[in-house]
């Protein structure tokens, strides 16, 4: 059984390591083989970008060598896939090589596309790449005061980042002693402050305490950088001095060029994670079109469910479990308090009031993540 994993991010890496442990015997005997193809020899802890943007984490803390995270039985190549032939069980890579497989998992993630809104990329800051996070910190550290507008595109990776940016920036400017010169205006695409209703209800109280104003049903259409105003699809506008963006995201371009899904999102079964029309092709993480959060924890729990199923398909000829839609998200409520939301397809979240202990657990998890990537936690 030749298993090909495309993508070396959180989902692909957890899957590969989990699967490798489950298939020790088969890998040793040659009955199974795991190959990973990735675009980079580095693995980035993407949630750390928020802390880089706030000057609280160094860039090099975000990275580990991808090969160092993988079980030794996994064959790893830095050679991104350019052509997918799911009917022929074959991919072709940038180097020109062809890889045959019996089973493929696509876990190539997503990317922010600020360029999809005219004027957004050149007039806003965001936290979605290393360069963007560093620019974010440079900008906020030089900010002298004025109106901060938070504007949110759809879909976006990490559903908690709009409130987290608002609350952590509030504390950042307070610590800099310029809070009396800064006002916050938060916008959101749907008719409340957050897609999770309990989180939205909690944010209302926090916003009232801090004097944060808000406008809902606000979807960015255009940014007029000359006049420093964001125009919305709903025909309203927000004047800003500092525009903090959560840009819309797309899946990877290679998935669109290979017609695997509109927007680069691959249609999959929400429980078995197989790509529609294929029994031996799967997708996990941001890559899928499943209507749940694009978040590392989603990729993590999908990877665990899929690893168990792939191993059982090899060992007993059938999958043994469904992915239940589980998502777990920390929510930083400032520089030193946090809470979390956990939910699945059938159970709504019930977030508790933020505490310092949850914040410190999140800080610890920023280091523990490397054990998660290795499939240990």
């Amino acid at each position: 059984m030749k298993i090909l994993i495309v993508g070396g991010g959180m989902g692909g890496t957890i899957l590969a390591n989990n699967l490798s442990r489950r298939l020790k015997r088969e890998l040793k005997s040659g009955k199974a083989k795991i190959t990973m193809l990735s675009a980079s020899d580095q693995h980035m802890y993407q949630p750390g970008l928020l802390y880089v943007a706030l000057g609280r984490m160094a860039v090099d803390e975000l990275y580990r060598d991808q090969a160092s995270l993988l079980e030794p039985e996994i064959e790893f190549h830095v050679d991104p896939v350019e052509e997918f032939n799911l009917d022929g069980n074959q991919v072709k890579t940038k180097s020109g090589k062809t890889y045959d497989y019996d089973l493929i998992v696509i876990a190539t993630g997503s990317r922010a596309v600020p360029e999809s809104i005219p004027g957004l990329a050149e007039n806003s800051i965001n936290v979605y790449t290393e360069a963007a996070a560093l620019e974010f910190y440079r900008t906020i550290s030089e900010f002298k005061g004025g109106r901060v507008v938070i504007a949110v595109g759809v879909p976006h990776k990490c559903p908690m980042i709009p409130p987290e940016l608002t609350f952590t920036l509030y504390d950042y400017f307070r610590d800099r002693g310029i809070l009396d010169k800064v006002s916050f205006h938060y916008t959101y695409p749907i008719g409340r402050l957050h897609s999770l209703e309990p989180v939205s209800d909690w944010m209302q109280g926090e916003f009232a305490e801090r004097g944060v104003t808000s406008e809902t049903l606000f979807n960015m259409k255009e940014v007029d950088g000359a006049n420093k105003v964001v125009l919305s699809e709903e025909d309203s506008e927000a004047k800003y001095d500092l525009l903090v963006a959560v840009p819309a995201h797309k899946g990877m371009e290679v998935l669109e060029t290979n017609d695997l899904g509109a927007g680069g999102w691959i249609p999959v079964d929400r429980n078995r994670l197989n790509i529609e029309g294929h029994d031996n092709a799967f997708a996990i993480g941001d890559t899928t079109n499943i209507p749940i959060s694009k978040a590392g924890s989603t990729a993590h729990y999908e990877a665990e469910a899929l690893a168990e199923n792939i191993a059982s398909m090899i060992k007993i000829g059938a999958p043994v479990r469904d992915y239940d839609g589980k998502v777990f998200c920390f929510i930083e409520a400032g520089k030193d308090r946090a809470t979390y939301a956990m939910f699945n397809y059938n159970k709504p979240p019930d977030p508790k009031p933020p505490t310092k202990s949850v914040h410190w657990f999140k800080m610890a998890y920023n280091q523990l993540y490397w054990a998660t990537a290795r499939g240990l936690l």
Binding site: V154, P155, P159, P189, I190, G191, S195, L196, L217, N219, E233, E234, A248, A262, G263, R270, P291, I292, S293, G325, V327, C329, A341, F343, N344, Y345, N346, P348, P349
Partner: protein, 76 residues
């Protein structure tokens, strides 16, 4: 010929049915329809509110055994 696509947003607490609609409508052509399946009764109100505010067209909204089938036509 206008196309109709379906987003199965049942059990989607986050990002939720309206956010899925906003994302999905970017990916279809003007004149095409998008059906959203939602198990959240709030969708029957908040989806039409957004659709009317932005200027798309509501085609239909029906409920069947606790699932709302809401069809929207992209108008611009």
């Amino acid at each position: 010929m206008a196309e109709k696509k379906t987003i199965d947003a049942r059990g989607s607490y986050c990002p939720g049915p309206l956010m899925e609609l906003i994302a999905g409508i970017k990916l279809i052509e003007v004149g095409d329809e998008l059906e959203v399946l939602s198990s959240d009764k709030g969708s029957a109100n908040d989806i039409p509110e957004w659709v009317n505010k932005v200027g798309h067209e509501m085609v239909s909204s029906t409920e069947d055994q606790g699932v709302w089938h809401i069809v929207v036509r992209k108008a611009k």
